[in-house]
Point group: C2
Chain length 322, copies 2
């Protein structure tokens, strides 16, 4: 089962949104067009536009208004990805040795800025006044999330709460906003709007927890990067936090590494073998499932064929194995 | 004569705007608040808010609407300054050895993103629908300008036209937008709005040309950095372009340096002495004066005490000696 099959009924609209995203980044400036196209072609699931589309479908449906929020949301996501690629000199000595970008730091940064500006420009076409405050608040929160991630990086002394706070801002917020804006531009009433907003939030949390599980359980081929990459880059995610609680030796290994990542080697095969012997993956999956259930619960009072596809997507992203 | 004296009559409002800018960056997140405050306290002339204020004063005057555009404009300017501080590893080998920022690249980048988001969030409070398209277009153009500057850096083969294109996007556009938005939020009619927009554009061009002259004529004490810093950083400005036309030896020196900035030393005292023996400064001042005159001409049909202060400010910034 593929994600795309779950939204087959809106595939023509999803394809049209893809064209709109392509159109939004073209013909402004040669370098920016190339760098933006590079990010765009790198793919991605485009889940944010799909969430907008499916959320809007729960009410009355007007494609022209949907694209004015779906395109900005994907552009903001792309901007955050390209800014994520900007590195410090120091980072290169901390395991983060490959820059995905073929360009330099400054070009990557200005590409991100350009995508942000394009997003706002596109959103300005919307006739719904709630769009800008919602989008700009999300952008602000995402920046705070990025700073929190920098602060927590290579800190082994952190709690589950720290982790949840980070992924809330890093992932859940923009998915929540995608669903909320789908509701806004389709004229949903307040109850449905609130339900979709919280559905998106919980689905987003489930999505990120699952992503963080896959980073340890996926193969290099499935992930497109070596397993355990998050940990090597100093991002301590939920499976690692759970495993550190159970396995004192693993706890020590991770602490040694994060205390001095430039000198200490972290034997990832050994780390993953030990992690799998704990209940970390099981407990992480339980957490993802809990979020999926919360997401599903939000939509219960609005049962229809349209909310049904959102419910199936929540189950899918919470349960996906790659 | 100081700039502040020219807008003494709006000083209470200017002071209130300063408080609003301070308030806009506070209490979101400790690191972001510190980095933002650092940029804010570094000072600056706050000319963008002043241009908003004075342009709005030409029509009916409502402070609450002014602050919703003046604060975002200064935040966008601050964001572009902090992003300007983000450097590539390569840059550090090209004379740009000091990072003004006390933080790392990524923190500086996210501080800029945060200020952009805050700007949009503040602007979203405005009831004037033209604000967002104008602001986001300006942000997009500024990104293109930054990329152009990267592309032109260390390229001695460039024309006056390349230079003008760069400073148009780098400086003139945001000042133009400041004046235009002052007109928009004070309900100016189309003619006055257009006049203020073009006044701002020409005043902005004059401002940047003058800045680029000062980089060669100012003392280190006046500038806060060594004279000729632009050239050392590979930014070839109008005085250098004019001087290279007249002095073949100077032309050769600059070419040798820009071809291999990591190895070739550029003797700045000698460069400045040679540049001063050409007509470069005189011709650059003529260009600044021409822009000042164009700015002034735009406001001629609307002569009043309020346009008069804008005219005096144009003369001031075009003729300032430090």
């Amino acid at each position: 089962m593929k994600l795309a099959e779950l939204y087959r009924h809106v595939k023509p609209e999803a394809a049209k949104l893809e064209k709109e995203i392509e159109a939004a980044i073209t013909s402004d400036h040669d370098v920016l067009e190339q760098t933006s196209a590079h990010i765009l072609q790198a793919g991605g699931k485009r889940i944010r536009p799909v969430f907008v589309l499916l959320s809007a479908k729960c009410s009355s449906y007007e494609f022209d208004e949907i694209k004015k929020v779906a395109v900005p949301l994907e552009l903001i996501h792309m901007a955050s990805l390209v800014h994520d690629d900007v590195i410090d000199d120091a980072d290169t000595r901390r395991g983060r040795e490959t820059i995905k970008s073929r360009w330099d730091n400054r070009t990557a940064m200005y590409t991100g800025d350009f995508l942000f500006a394009k997003a706002i420009q596109k959103a300005a076409e919307s006739k719904f006044l709630d769009v800008h405050p919602i989008l700009s608040r999300a952008m602000r929160e995402m920046c705070i999330g990025e700073i929190e991630q920098l602060q927590d990086q290579y800190h082994a002394d952190q709690s589950l709460k720290d982790y949840l706070r980070r992924i809330r801002r890093k992932t859940a917020l923009l998915i929540s906003v995608s669903c909320e804006l789908g509701a806004v531009v389709s004229g949903a009433d307040d109850d449905l709007r609130r339900a979709l907003k919280w559905y998106g939030y919980y689905a987003g949390m489930a999505f990120q927890v699952t992503d963080d599980i896959l980073d340890f359980t996926g193969s290099e081929k499935e992930l497109g990067k070596p397993a355990g990459s998050d940990l090597i880059q100093g991002n301590i995610t939920i499976p690692a936090l759970y495993a550190m609680e159970e396995d004192a030796e693993l706890n020590r290994m991770i602490r040694d590494y994060t205390n001095d990542p430039e000198r200490v080697h972290l034997p990832m095969d050994d780390v993953i073998r030990r992690l799998r012997q704990t209940n970390a993956i099981f407990k992480s999956r339980q957490l993802a499932d809990a979020y999926v259930n919360k997401a599903v619960m939000m939509l219960k009072p609005f049962a229809s064929a349209d909310t049904d596809s959102l419910i199936r997507i929540a189950h899918f992203i919470g349960g996906r194995r790659f």
